[in-house]
Every structure is written in structure tokens, then in C-alpha cells.
Symmetry: C3
Subunit: 464 residues, 3 copies
């Protein structure tokens, strides 16, 4: 039987070897990263400058997204007083695995060449792989402190798989052409996936670990690093794979404005929700990000600057209310323990964003976008040429429902897999504790006082 402390090495090794083999069989460079391919591409497309390589359109945004995944999500989850190693460390592990598996899964569904049987990858594939991981990292937020690293690897394996299928249905079959920042495919799916897993893994005696389920002063500051990098780079997240030119440009403006508005309403509701009007760091760290989630679908639309601000305004209110009232309600009534409150940061704002996108899509006109802009933005060419904008809006709404369904059903199934008594999860009185999985350094208090050194001065040689 798989012993708790040997499970992790085995999973890491075996799965990584599987990656080597699958990458060997399937993954190749695309024509813009292949040395020979790029020379041919330039010739055939009559391109004279290397700056036309997609790399230069996407790389700055890619690195911002990369920072969001590893530092943003990672440090946002360091807020617990004794689970900071697990927060940032396991985030690191599962994202590093998830992005490899995502390249394969997304490749099979989206870019498998039927002739050669190969998947070709470029910078946009790396961005999509990071996005795909985000779904599982969001789910980790609900589970933080209550699961083992092996369980997280399983959550990621299935999370990435479900993501790729769901994304294929939404983007390809329903032709929801616009979800560049993933309100639906990333946040709605990831949010409900995590909540469903957490619901299945409900621990009635979790209050045995209550003493560790909270922050200390400096752990909240570490979490603020994560929160700010997420907040600052969200315009890059939403614009990373949008259309070149005005598309990327506009997406950045919309997301930037929406996030700014969200901060003010978050501070307002946070202060109103506490006696004496004090602010709560949990709200500032989380609810101020909700606007980025909600703009994931519609930031590329011509939603107008004030439209973006209105979305941000509402999201700050809704998300902070969620932290104040809904999360406690879910825990008490629905037996749903959601450590980071992903319900308020991802599930609900993501769903809202999906429906906002549906409305804005249905309202799109040729007058606003121009003829070629409309076709380009919504991808309404080929067999979708005759789809009306109101039909497109209905498909966008349907896409949101697909994301919710995949999250809930997939999460329940994965939750039951995680309940097998094999995976080394912590006991109820040992949750939220790095002691379970990490060699911890000695306590800070044991640093001896420095007074006694004053007689040993700096340079030993000077005594001579």
C-alpha cells in the first residue's frame, strides 16, 4: 500500500516520466519557434522583420501571467500563520506539473495535426497552459490546509483534464469566441470545482485546528505581495491572448479601470461590515481582485470605460459581502469549508462575468465595432458567418452554464476519489499546519540575544 511519506516521490517521478514520454511522442515547436520553420514562415508570409514573430506581441504579457500563477496565487495563499510553506510551496509544485499536462491536454483538443499526429507549441500555448493551471490553483484555495500534496496532484491532474474538455466545448463547439481572460473557463469552472471537492471532503471536526486557521501580522503582509501582483498584472492576464492591436490595447484599459473601481467599493463595504469601521485584510487581499475575474470575458468587448467601472463597482460590493456573510453561511448551512473564500473571489464573479459578457455580446453592433472589427472580435467567419449577435449572446450564456456544470460534477467525482484513505491527508487536529509536510526551522524566539557579542568585535585580525 502507498505510504503517506512515499506517495509524493512516487507520484512526482512516475507522472514526470509520463510527461517525458508523451512530450517525446507529441510535442514539437511551432512554425514561429522552429528555426527552419520561422525562416520559411517569413518567406511564405512575406515578412521582413523578426518583430512580427508572435513572441513580441505576447511575451511581456506571458511573463506577467507567469508571475500571477507562481507569486500571485502562491503568496496570496501564505496568509495562514503556519501554512505559508504549504501555500506557496504546493502551489509551486502543482502549477509546475499542471502546465506540462495542460500543454498535452490542450494540444490534443486544439492543435493536434491530423497528418503528423503532432502538437506544435509556441508562446500562446505557454500562456494557455498557465491559464489552465489557474483553474486547479483556484480549487486549491478552497482546500488550503486540509489536503496532502498527493491529493493536490490528483486535483490538478483531473482539473486540467476537465478544463481542457470544458474549454473545447465552450470555445470550439459553442464557439464562445470571447473568453480571453477566462471568466467562464478558468474562474467559474475552477471556483465550482474547488467548492464541490471541498463539500465532499467536509470535516465536521475541523474546529480542532481552529487555532491555526488564521493569520498573523507578517503572514498577512506576505499575502499582500501575492494580492498586489495579481491585481497589477490582471490587465495582462485578460489581454494575453486577445487579438493583436486594438484588442489587447482595449482589454488592458478596461481591466485596469474595473480593478481600480473595485478597490474603492471593497474598502467601503469592508469598513461598513465591521464594528468601529475597521478594515479587514482578508477583504482587501481578495475582494479587490474580483473585478479582474468578472472582466475576463468582456474586457475585449467595446464595453466602454464607464461600463468597466460599473462592473468593478458592483464586484467589490458583491465579493466583500460574500466574505462577510456568504462564506460563514456556506460553512454553517451547506457544510462547505472554503479556506480562501474562492466562492466570493472566483465562482460568483466568474459567473457574473460570463453573463455580463453574454449581454455585451448580444448588444454588439456594426456601428460600434465596424464590419471587419465585428468579424474579427467575435470570430464570426466560416461556418459561423451568419450567426446573429443575439444568438452569440445566448451561446455565451450557455458557455457559463457548461463551466458551472463541469465544475460541480467534476468536483464531486474528484472529491470522492480523494476520500480513499490512501493519500496522506492530515488529521482534523493537524490541518493548516506545515509541520505535517515540511521540515520546519526552529522558532524565532530561540535566536540568542546579541548583547553578549559586544566584546567580540568585527575583525578578528585586528586584535592581533
Amino acid at each position: 500500500i502507498l505510504r503517506s511519506h512515499t506517495g509524493l516521490p512516487a507520484v512526482c517521478f512516475v507522472w514526470q516520466i509520463a510527461m517525458v514520454i508523451l512530450f517525446g511522442v507529441f510535442i514539437r515547436y511551432d512554425e514561429e519557434s522552429d528555426e527552419k520553420g520561422w525562416h520559411e514562415f517569413k518567406r511564405s508570409h512575406n515578412i521582413t522583420s523578426n518583430i512580427e514573430n508572435d513572441f513580441y506581441f505576447r511575451y511581456p504579457s506571458f511573463q506577467d501571467v507567469h508571475v500571477m500563477i507562481f507569486v500571485g496565487f502562491g503568496f496570496l495563499m501564505t496568509f495562514l500563520k503556519r501554512y505559508s510553506f504549504g501555500g506557496v510551496g504546493f502551489n509551486f509544485l502543482i502549477a509546475a506539473f499542471g502546465l506540462q499536462w495542460a500543454l498535452l491536454m490542450q494540444g490534443w483538443f486544439h492543435s493536434l495535426d491530423p497528418v503528423t499526429g503532432k502538437i506544435t507549441i509556441g508562446i500562446e500555448s505557454l500562456i494557455n497552459a498557465d491559464f489552465c493551471c489557474a483553474g486547479s490553483l483556484i480549487a486549491y484555495g478552497a482546500l488550503l490546509g486540509k489536503v496532502s500534496p498527493v491529493q493536490l496532484m490528483i486535483v490538478t491532474l483531473f482539473g486540467v483534464t476537465l478544463f481542457a474538455v470544458e474549454e473545447y466545448i465552450i470555445l470550439d463547439l459553442l464557439h464562445v469566441s470571447l473568453d480571453a481572460g477566462g471568466s467562464m473557463v478558468i474562474h467559474t469552472f475552477g471556483g465550482y470545482y474547488g467548492l464541490a471537492i471541498s463539500w465532499v471532503l467536509y470535516r465536521p471536526n475541523l474546529n480542532l485546528s481552529k487555532r491555526l486557521n488564521g493569520s498573523v501580522y507578517h503572514s498577512d503582509l506576505f499575502a499582500m505581495i501575492g494580492a498586489l501582483f495579481l491585481w497589477m498584472f490582471w490587465p495582462s492576464f485578460n489581454s494575453a491572448i486577445t487579438n493583436h492591436g486594438a484588442g489587447q490595447h482595449r482589454t488592458v484599459i478596461n481591466t485596469y479601470l474595473s480593478l481600480a473601481a473595485c478597490v474603492l467599493t471593497t474598502f467601503a463595504i469592508s469598513s461598513m461590515g465591521q464594528k468601529k469601521g475597521k478594515l479587514d485584510m482578508v477583504h482587501i487581499q481578495n475582494a479587490s481582485l474580483a473585478a479582474g475575474v468578472a472582466m475576463g470575458t468582456s474586457a475585449e468587448f467595446m464595453i466602454t470605460p464607464y461600463g468597466s467601472i460599473i462592473v468593478g463597482f458592483c464586484c467589490g460590493i458583491i465579493s466583500t459581502f460574500g466574505y462577510l456573510y456568504v462564506t460563514p453561511f456556506l460553512e454553517k448551512r451547506l457544510k462547505l469549508q472554503d479556506t480562501c473564500g474562492i466562492h466570493n473571489l472566483h465562482a460568483v464573479p466568474g459567473m457574473l462575468g460570463g453573463f455580463v459578457g453574454a449581454i455585451v455580446a448580444a448588444a454588439a453592433t456594426e456601428e460600434v465595432y465596424g464590419k471587419e472589427g465585428l468579424v474579427e472580435t467575435f470570430g464570426l467567419s466560416g461556418k459561423f458567418e451568419n450567426r446573429s449577435m443575439s444568438t452569440q449572446g445566448a451561446y455565451q450564456a450557455a458557455g457559463t452554464c457548461v463551466a458551472i456544470a463541469f465544475g460541480l460534477v467534476g468536483g464531486v467525482c474528484v472529491g470522492f476519489i480523494l476520500r480513499f484513505p490512501l493519500w496522506g491527508d492530515p488529521a482534523d487536529d493537524f490541518c493548516f499546519d506545515d509541520e505535517a509536510y515540511w521540515e520546519l526551522p526552529e522558532d524565532e524566539e530561540t535566536i540568542p540575544p546579541v548583547l553578549e557579542y559586544n566584546n567580540h568585535m568585527i575583525n578578528k585580525h585586528q586584535d592581533t
Copy 2:
């Protein structure tokens, strides 16, 4: 009457609603972010590639500036032992408000279309809005720990307004074409604005809070995160809105070199200023940045690499001396309490930078810049075609004086507004304390020892 704990929500809500309305009336996408507009722009300018969109020239720098505003300024102000939440949190709040208000104020003065009555925005507007916030964030540095969030919102409201007017006078009326990194308009103005406010708000009994007016080991490390991100990204700050091509390129080189030289002289003076030659973290965190401030005006000039190093060399010395001797002097003699020492980091280096810029502008020749380079760099076309370089230098110097005047007069006025007993500022013995405005987590010492858990091992299921 406005109660202290209800003031903040009211201000946030009302002002944010005002933003929605004003954005609805005034703000639209510019021709490079509008879907239809960009297609027309490409056609009319005969552009074939989307890479010519201004977005690709500016976005990497924009994100660096954004990091400086939120993580740079924010974490630099976490150095106090019990005001880190306020440092990074209120910085977040006022920057998020300030950038929205800045888009409006700067738009009215610089890009209001007289025909349509609309302001159009693009990536450069976002950079300028971030810059405009910086003025108020600098002022916050002088006030850190002594004012309430509502007071900070007022500081920002007026700060952004004054900034836009001052910028209009300096850049448009005086045609000081070169202040891309804002030595004058950002740092000189922001520095004197904050100092004047602080002078009006002088607290004779501030030593009642003396026990909290200092750092602890880890708070200094958090501040170092902010300091380093400011230091590293300052080349982006100064080059973000300079001319495409050689202009941006040269600005980066000059700022990079100047900052490097500044670090060495900062370490030197810091070590000389202390008994036993020990270094002081306050100097390292702050004075090493002074070169970036001072190069804000002249980094785009052909100041030469060694010219940049000389500026950095001097700034490190002047700024560190300021921290050692001037700040204590100001507090004792001028009744001026400057928590972060913005006098030494922003006011004086900014002013110096303005005058250095004046000298370098007066010395510019066609031999060095080339004919078209001279016209392009200094914008000497149209009605300024015949302005001589020495006249341009004089206008640059005049611009610096305008910035000082706006800072001092504006700051005194705003200071008196802040003295109304309405805004919930902390009592003298309650300054520098997050307890006043934040729900604080329990103390770190209350984490129970881990020894007792050794008998509860990891997986509860394994016991069965």
C-alpha cells in the same frame, strides 16, 4: 456630523459614483484602442502591422510603472513595525482612486476634443494617470501614520487636481517639453506638497507614539521589496512616455547608470555617518533611489553616460546627508515631521533634477542631436520653432519653480482643510498604529507549540 468610522465608506462610495458618471460623460477609447478606430487608423496611416500600435511600445514600461506605484511605493512604506497594513493598504486605496481622477483631470487639460467634448484614452494615458498618483503617494510618505484614510483621500483629490494644473502650466504653457520622468511635475511637486501639509499638521506631542515610530527586522525586509522594485524599474518610469526609438533607449541607459552610482555613494555616506561604520537600512532603502528622481528630467537628453553617473554620485551623497542631518533639523527647528524623509528622496533630488535638466537643455546643440533629433527631442516645432536652446533652459528652470510653488501653496491650503475636526485622524498617542483602522490578527506569540502534536500523525485514515 461625519463619524470617524462611517466617513470612509461614504467617501469611497460617493466619489466612486461620481467617477462612473464623469467617465460616462467624458471618457472614450482613443483611435488605437477602439476597434473601428484602429482599423481606420491603420488604413489612413498606411500601417500594415499591428505591432505599430502604441501599445507595444509602451506596455512593458507601463506594467513596470504600475508595479512601482503599488508594490514599490506600497511596500517601501511598510517599514514601520506596526503600520505596515496602513502603509501598503492605504497606498493601494488612494492610488486606485487617484488614477481614475487623474484620467479625468489630465484629460480635461490635455486631450479634451473641443468638437465632441470627449477625452480619448490609450496606454499613454494610463501611464500618465499612474504618474499623477505618484505625486500624492509621495506626499503620503511625509504623513505616514499620522492621518486617517479619509484625510488621505482628500490629499489625493487635491493632489491630483493641483498636479494636472501644474503639469498644464509647465508642459503646455511654458513648453517644458522634457520632463518625462517627472523630476519637476511629480517629485518636486509631490515632495513639497507633502512637506507643506505635514508642516501645517505639526503635532507637538507626537513623541507619545514614539515607541511605534521605528522598524523591526522583518518590516525592514518588507520595505526592501518596495525599495528594490522602485530601484530596478526606475529606468522604465523615466522612459515610459519618452519618444519612441532612441529616446526610450537612451533614457533607460542613463537612468540605469545613475542609479548604480547612487548606490555606492549611499553606502559610503551611510557607513561614515554612524559610529563603528555600520550601515543604516533607512538610507539603503531610500537614498539609493534619489538618482532616479534626479534623472527624471534629463534622462532623455544626450547627457552622456558619465554625466548620468556624476548625477547619481552626487544624489547618493546629498540624499543620505539629508537623512542623517536635515530631517532631524527640520523636525527640531522647522516643526516639520516627515515620516519617510521625502524631503531627501523626492523634494531635493527632484528640484536638483529640474535644474540639471535646465542646464543640459541650455547646452544642447545640433551637433550632438542632429537637426531632426533636436526638434523631436525638445518638440521645437510650430510656434516654438524659433526658441533658442538657452531660452529653453530658462523655461525648464522656471518650470521647476512653478512645481515648488504649487507644492508649497497647495500643500498649506490642503493642510488647513485637513485640520477640520471631521476626518477621524488618530490621537497623538495612537499614531503609527494599525490598530486604529484595521482588524489586526492575534499576536504571533500565541501560536501554540508544535511539540504536542507528535502523537497525532499525518493521515487519520492510516490509524484504521
Copy 3:
């Protein structure tokens, strides 16, 4: 005689003045950053758009590299419980000096114009200067906590000098055209350089400082900031100076994949190496980066995605084994004290990377690269036109040996210089202690309790 506390100011001042003079004599803008030069360059090269300026190809990568040098290396070295100021602070100092000296040294060897006697610099020079510093910062890793800042300045002065000579031999004389991420010139050299110095400076009584040679909970989190920024931005490090277009694009993909694989094997071995299968933060922070080091030479090659993953797979294993078994062995048997374990993170992976590069170069064919790709990637034009690929592989291997030799011999010589009793190094019982060189803030425990303030409420004015 040079007193310990006056040495640092003197060194900083004198060396910085030397920089001013040398920059004045030698350094000028290159044709893409010079105002007049760029206008002429555009004309002579028939370029119409400023986006063709090398700045736009390199600047995003440059800023990522810059973050790695100052935040990445700096914070990675904050892991010690009481040497975090020294870790991040001295890193800051020596990098700021090193990059100036590197511009001169690399300029003399690589871009001195024989006619004008000037070195011209642009964005690529700044990247190379940052790279050159990295060699000395790596060496600092072995010396962390045991040397004085003056000693570090000497290490950097000679480190940069040796680097430039070694780089000239490897890149120009041996024409090892491909070492863009510096497996050989940066990591192998820097690693062995630091190890050799540390070996000469062996302290038999270092266990007198043993109580401080370890981390605390929050110092490990600060180190994780550094580790993650290194990990995330390593694709930029390796691609920053590769060929425009497919070269940069492919380098990013290869490095990204290799690093992801490395994380999984690092977690696996770390867990296997400890009783109870617990993870060790030292491994996670360090060994997960080894793949980036090892890919420095071959990431630009057509090594294939799965080839990259295999390299990462092996590096995670080798590096973590190094931390578990080799570092203790070196200390015990070879009298080699390596504070950060650079042997496992830089020396060995760098050497491996050099040899992997040799093999991959020898295996390169025209079929894979295309005719022009082969010439462009390996720079096989001019007098190297007829060099066969297997010969090129042999030269790559020789380059690695040159790097090792320079590191070892140079390090031993510098080590003996550092043993002069002049430089203010700490006594054996005073190592790993910021107290030696920094004014430290009071201890955290001295913050008074907040309970007593409840009767002083927020706004003093409200009492009236």
C-alpha cells in the same frame, strides 16, 4: 592602516570616482540609443519604424534579468535568520558596482572601436553587464555571512575582470557561439570561483556561529520570493541575448519546460531524503532552479521540448542529491564551507549544461535547422564558415573546461588576497550576523501590547 569601519566608504568613493573617469574617457551611446545616430541608422538601413530598434526586442527580457539580479539573488540570500540585511543589502551593493565595471571590462574586450577608442553601449550591453555581475553574486552565495562588504567588493572587482577575460576566450577565441544563458561563462565560472575562494577562507571554528547558520519561518518565506522570481524569469535570462525571432521564442519554451520538470524531481528527492518524507525548503528554493542553469547553453538549440524536460528531470535529482549529501561531504572532507550550496545550484548544473550543449551542438544538422538557420544559430560565417558541427561541439566542451579553470585558479588567487588582515571580516563567533555591519532595529518582542489603548480612541478631536 585601513580601519574596518572606514574601509567601506573609502572603497566605495574611490572606485566610484574611478568609474566616473573611465566612463568619461571610454563610454558613449551606440547608434541605436544616440539621437543623431539612430536617425542615421534608420536612413542607412532603410528602416521606417522605431519598433525595429533593438530596445523593443530586448527591454522586457532586460527588466526580467534585472529583477533576477537584485530581487532574485538578493532575496534568495535572505534565508538566514539574522543575515537577511546582509544578504539582500550587500547583493545590492556589489551588483551596483559590478555592472558599471562590467560595462567597461566587457566593452574593452568586445566593442572597443579601434579608431575612436570608445566603447558604445546599448540595451544588450546592459543585459551583459547584469549577466557579468551574476558571476560574482553566485560566488557571494558560497561566502554568505563570512566576509565583509569590502571583501565582497574585491571579490566583485576581480570576478568581473576574470569573467570578461574568460568570456573573451570562450566566445571570441574558441567561438563558442552559443552560451546565451551562460551555463559556462556565468554559472560554471561563478560557481567554481566562489567555491575556490571559500576553500581558501576555510574557518575551522565556524561552528561558533552555528546558532545563526539557519533559517526561521519568515526568513524562508523571504527567500522564497527570491527563488520564485529567479524561477519565473529564467526563460528571460536565457533568451535575453539570443537571436531575434525564433531564437528567443524557442529559448523561452525550452527553459520553461525544463524548469517545470525540475520542480517535480526536486520535490520527489527532497521528500525521499528526509525521515517521514517531509520536504526541505532549502531544496525547494534552490534545486528547482538548477534546470535554468543547465539550459543556459543549449536552450537556443533545437533541443526539442522533451529534450528540455529530460534535462530538467535530471537536474532536479542531481541538485537535490547535492544538497543532501555532497555539501555536507565537501564541508567535512574538503574543508569547503558553502553557505548557499552554490556547488549544487550553479557549479555542477552549469558544467553539465556546458557538456549537454557540446553534445547537442555536435548533433546539429542542416535538416533540422535549415541552411540559414544553422549559420545564424551557430554564427558559422566568415573565418568559421567551414567548421563542422562535431568540431563546434568539441569547442563547446573546451569552453566549459576554460570556465572551470578560470573559476578555480582565479578563486584561489582572490582567496589569498582576501586573507590579508585588512578587510574587516567578522570573527568566527560573529558570522552570519547582521549586527556586525548594520544598525539593527530593536527586537520585535518589545512592541508594547495594544490593550491599553482602547480608551484612547481614534480621533482626538471627537472628544471635544
